[in-house]
Subunit: 483 residues, 2 copies
Amino acid sequence: MEDKWSRWGLDLHLRPGAGRGLRAGLEHALRDAVRSGRLPPGTRLPSSRTLAHDLGISRGTVTQALDQLVAEGYLESKSRSGIRVAPRPAAPPTETTQPSPVTLPPVRGIDLRSGFPDLAAFPRREWLAATRHILQTAPNTALGYPDRTGTIELRQALAEYLGRVRGVITTPAHIVICAGYAHALRLVCQVLHHHIACAGMFAFEDPTEPDYPRLVEQMGHRARRIAVDRDGLIVEALTNETAVVVTPAHQYPLGVTLSSARRVELVSWARRADGFIVEDDYDGEFRYDRQPVGALQGMAPDRVIYVGTTSKTIAPGLRLAWLVLPSSLMIPLREATRWDESYVNVIDQLVLARLIQTGELDRHVRRCRTRYRRRRDLLGKAVTRQLPHGRLFGIAAGLHAVLRLPADADLEVPLLGYLAERGILVEGISSFYHRPEESPLALVIGYATPADHAYSSALSALINALRERMPGDNAAGCGRWES
Amino acid sequence: MEDKWSRWGLDLHLRPGAGRGLRAGLEHALRDAVRSGRLPPGTRLPSSRTLAHDLGISRGTVTQALDQLVAEGYLESKSRSGIRVAPRPAAPPTETTQPSPVTLPPVRGIDLRSGFPDLAAFPRREWLAATRHILQTAPNTALGYPDRTGTIELRQALAEYLGRVRGVITTPAHIVICAGYAHALRLVCQVLHHHIACAGMFAFEDPTEPDYPRLVEQMGHRARRIAVDRDGLIVEALTNETAVVVTPAHQYPLGVTLSSARRVELVSWARRADGFIVEDDYDGEFRYDRQPVGALQGMAPDRVIYVGTTSKTIAPGLRLAWLVLPSSLMIPLREATRWDESYVNVIDQLVLARLIQTGELDRHVRRCRTRYRRRRDLLGKAVTRQLPHGRLFGIAAGLHAVLRLPADADLEVPLLGYLAERGILVEGISSFYHRPEESPLALVIGYATPADHAYSSALSALINALRERMPGDNAAGCGRWES
């Protein structure tokens, strides 16, 4: 039978079965023959009667298959001349280009990069229980298009949570649920574009995560950097920017907390310059020496755009974040999102609302805080005892610390290479600086990522490698950071 | 005790308990007093010893509370002059503006608007089971930042599914997971902007969902409309557009299928004009008279940007969609999303991949297809028997049909008002046209939305209201659609 098929240029991948399977097999073979050029454009097909007889299948099956291919544009049916292969205007280029992957594959070895919580602590049981509750109780109407700003349930839960835990002063109507921090930042760019009716200037801290100024530039605004010292952003360097993006609770990556004097200065700047403060409160829940410092937003709800996320408290994979906007930006928000839809799954929004309402999120954060504090203490002890010439910064809060090393910045590349050879992945601080060449030699150590059982050995591996590479007698002091 | 507190301007909302509760109460009261102005800037606070004695609480508690407020910037501590209320540069405007809601509240009554599947059919049990499976089996590393184009598991599952069900020819590397159709369309705008290095011209069908041309214009491109006849888009009206957005399987909202000749013409146009076809395959799984017409993408994977979504097959609330891109657009995609993160929850991606792999999605679609076909048949019978002068279009596929009525378009507004008074929500077709005043009189009837048990009565209510309002003897024929 395959001979007969191949006579018509048909390469039957699927062994024909019966009924629908046979028809599908014929369609597949026909489509393939047309696409591959084995049946060139203009080829006249035999009548369905002939084809059915020749292939030994029913005429109805053949007719159905041909009708389908006509409807799809592979064949054309003209009343008098029967069925032909439709013209193919130009041969489609073969799709052989294998695009290279867009992001890097996951790393094997000891991962001490910053920006990740302990993924082993993900509250799987609680997330599943809340999902079950939502799927058993949510009305059908909840599964339609959600409000563009997010479900009212999650915005209500967040207004209460952020007020209680972070001192944020807001209402559910001022909250917008976003699909992660990058989405939130894009939305801020759009909202401010509508607010000032032109492109603006964004100030970022220096050092900072370099992707964010670039994202803002891609959105059509300009971006500049403002230096950070041990009190946080040097506010007096601001002029008449549209917005300044800051990490007041735990500067990323330096780890300093924005001082109270600078907080007042910053709000003062915003009022004077008619600018906005974008408060990136990425790890504000984690403070170890006392209860968390309240959000800057609480001091000036009219001037601060607050951004929070579950990426550090639960997991980045959830892609959940929120904006808290001043009242004056609600109309620009509506303009910016007028033709949009919500970007966040309703079920996930309701699940997070439930975890907040039932206190599960608080319990989870508390468990993580205890765990991270223990890890931070181990890191502190190890450095004090085994790297007497290194100094740790930013250990009061968050999921990472900065280890300043007694040498010059041009050692960073060989040092990171040396560590990588030993399977230790850690970032140098220079890539966070606008001028990497002026950066000090320091490592940004994310201590939350390794699994609990692997943390001690990860820490030992890092410290031992640094001791080998950075003997104490080479110590050159900590340079300008000492001042 | 409240007397003593109020002496310091403190209005104690929280009754002080013991330990941490007491400290939190004092902090709350102090913050409130500073914010409200009861403790004006510059006010010197008594020493912690005095305050502790006066309030009858331990000095340690007072010190902790004051430290916290200093850290938050409400108070300032200067070595010699003790603790003062920090300067408040300008009184923050009171946040009393209650922003009006961004979207309309859900409708009560009989909802026959198009664009929704039957939400009562949401596969709650299957979604929960897949979530359980994923939460029990996914490795911790899966919960980190996903690839910007989506998880490989979902892209693999979709490449197989789309090939099998829709005739799409692609690889997982050409698929991008998006947070709904609007996100996908924004991404297309960005990708094509990078590809042609300037703003472009997008053609849309007329009629079409009007938000999408507006979104494209907001993204900096221009947009025009091209008329649709009973064979679909009138391809010869295209010139040198950057892209044309089409709904080949079931034109939205007219419901016609793009004919095979037009498919060939359209691909030919794209090759000649170096343009792209954006195939919005929003309801391609639902075809009632035969198996679904394969996607246009299968004819020209190098020229078609394919967009699919779960909004019609499962529920819009999931906010899940996907792009299938030609190879030539993979580098522009990488440029456009270089500073971005994925916008879609990893768990949801893995759940959908699982539903595809286990065949649950196929079973669900099959169940829905049977259900919708029954509803479509009921609609068809009702119109034939009870509205002999009305005519139904677009009933071969999808979740909606167009009912052409024998009267002029200027009757649309009073007719919709008449229906709304009877609690029947349905759309007129005019709002989908670029020039609403030239539109025919027709209703776009979404027949998937009402619950199964409510469908017959919803249909009767609609038909009866139309019979009252549109007596047969007023019939004016169906005008230009007859031609």
